[in-house]
């Protein structure tokens, strides 16, 4: 047990709520694990764009002598090569959330399910809106995962007679969502529901609706499981009837399992998909983390 291990953790920087939560969980987990296992060291790097993330991983390999890497790829394609290089150097690789574009590189895969994320929300819409109902969508930053979510959502409501009026980019940002929603409200006299696809955006949307005085007209479904939204669901707020999880805490599981691989003999490799669950007033309490910044 004298051997020390270094684990690199490379994630996107905290540019929006979800990533902020993920950053918080990563740091929190690292702090906790470092206290438990004195012989494990962690190297955390955050990147604002794919190129920088590749730089970070290169640096970890070249200067920090990492034994394992936990990576949440900014984008799948550009990170595939560099992560493969880590693997080829004989290191342990854990991939989180966004799969690499080439199968079989990672030892461990921990992820949320973007298709399920869109699908669960879509199914809720299908089941709770009459045919002919009108909805608007706020999309995230243009990325593959955003496409997956929206496609899954649209597939889920396909044939239900629900009409999608519009889908603009709110960039997972409260301010942008506020603006887009204001303009939706000017443009469409009747909106029955909003899929905001992210809890940060949901907050911006709610504000715009409140300002327009149309609070009773429509409900909103966000996503990811931000504590404020979960709280509302828990309290039975009619405006936010449900939420769909996409837990930022998945990074904790990934880091923990990777650490376990080094400090114990436990077999941890494989794929762990953390499904997206519908948070309802009944089950909300189990998704509520008041200490997290997200």
């Amino acid at each position: 047990e004298d051997k020390t291990y270094t684990i690199g953790v490379s994630i996107p920087s905290a540019t929006h709520g979800f990533m902020g939560g993920l950053n918080w969980h990563a740091q929190d987990t690292i702090k906790r694990l470092e206290a438990i296992y004195p012989n494990v060291k962690f190297v955390l790097a955050t990147a604002g764009e794919p190129g920088k993330q590749v730089d970070d991983i290169e640096d970890m390999l070249a200067t920090r002598n990492i034994d394992g890497l936990v990576v949440l790829p900014f984008e799948s394609e550009p990170l595939t090569g560099p992560v493969k290089a880590v693997k080829d150097a004989g290191k342990w690789v854990t991939v989180v959330d966004r799969g690499l574009s080439q199968p079989g590189i990672e030892d461990l895969y921990v992820a949320g399910d973007n298709t399920a994320f869109g699908q669960v929300a879509g199914e809720y819409f299908r089941d709770n809106l009459p045919s002919g109902a009108k909805v608007v969508i706020l999309r995230g930053i243009p990325t593959t995962l955003d496409n997956e979510r929206v496609d899954a959502f649209e597939k889920a409501i396909d044939g239900s007679g629900i009409e999608v009026l519009d889908k603009q980019h709110g960039n997972w940002n409260r301010d942008d969502a506020f603006t887009v929603m204001q303009d939706y409200l000017s443009k469409y006299p009747k909106i029955d529901a909003v899929w905001a696809a992210d809890d940060d955006m949901a907050l911006g949307v709610m504000e715009a609706i409140a300002a327009a005085g149309r609070t009773d007209e429509m409900w909103i479904v966000g996503g990811a499981g931000m504590k404020e939204i979960i709280k509302r669901v828990m309290d039975g707020d009619k405006q936010v009837p449900v939420d769909v999880t996409y837990p930022p805490a998945q990074i904790s599981s990934a880091i923990e399992m990777t650490t376990l691989h080094f400090v114990s003999a436990a077999p941890v490799s494989g794929r762990f998909i953390i499904g997206s669950t519908l948070v309802t007033p009944e089950n909300a309490a189990q998704f509520y983390f008041p200490d997290s910044p997200f």
Binding site: A14, T179, P293
Partner: protein
Amino acid sequence: MRNLSLSTLGPLAALILLVVLGTFLNANFLSAGNITNVLARSAFIGMIAVGMTFVITSGGLDLSVGSMAAFIAGMMILAMNAMLPTLGIGVPLVLAGMAVALGVGLLAALANGLLITRAGIEPFIVTLGTMGIFRSLVTWIADGGTLSLDFEARQFYRPVYYGGIFGITWPILVFAVVAVLGELAMRHTRFGRYCEAIGSNDRVARYSAVKVERVQLMTYVALGVLVGLATILYVPRLGSASGSTGLLWELEAIAAVIIGGTALKGGYGRVWGTVVGVLILSLIDNILNLADLVSPYLNGAIQGVIIVLAVVLQRGKSSAEGR
């Protein structure tokens, strides 16, 4: 004079064209609600851009305003949450929050201004540096997440964004006042005159008994206070601040200033042109949301084209030769 009138009317013409276009595309475009929305949203960037007009006119530049806004919002929220137990919810709390915002804005800008005027470092570098510093600090204070104003306090503070008098909301009123005062300051006060003189030729200004460093410092400080003011109106809107608050506001503010006809090299500032520039930028976004485009992916492209066209309208070949 001939030249002036052309370049003065240019941005206005672009603005009018956009309004006409918006009206065609969507009947609700001219509704009171939409107009209020657009104007109120423009107010933040607007106030900042008015301040930026002075900085650019006197030959400076400030890239840090967006992150400064985030930083001020963060500090303001922290301060208000901290003072809540003592002051209780009410006007004193809000006033204290506002004082903090203006104070932090002033200090942050003073840091920029002193590094630029006393240490003599290029404004681009100084404000690029502080841009990173301010934004990092917010993210750090917020622990990567969002700083939120206490719910009750926010409910009390909310009318500062959404409320108003005579059916005009506060952000619009404050923006209008700032714009008018800015125009006055630029055209009719020594400060504005000195900004133009310094931007035109700082040695001449120095030889003519203008306190060049002091005026330059004042432009940065004024900008900082305006960023503080913008933040005061921004915080009640969503009640939160995070690392992504005010992202790219600097670019938008500078773009508004240049679209409005102020020269990037300094020497010539037009505050009301800046106001028109801000409105043009807001309207582009609004119209893109109201219209049904082929693909929202192309929003950026259309924005780009309109920005360039707005300026083409204003400056033809002829005036390019003149300058």
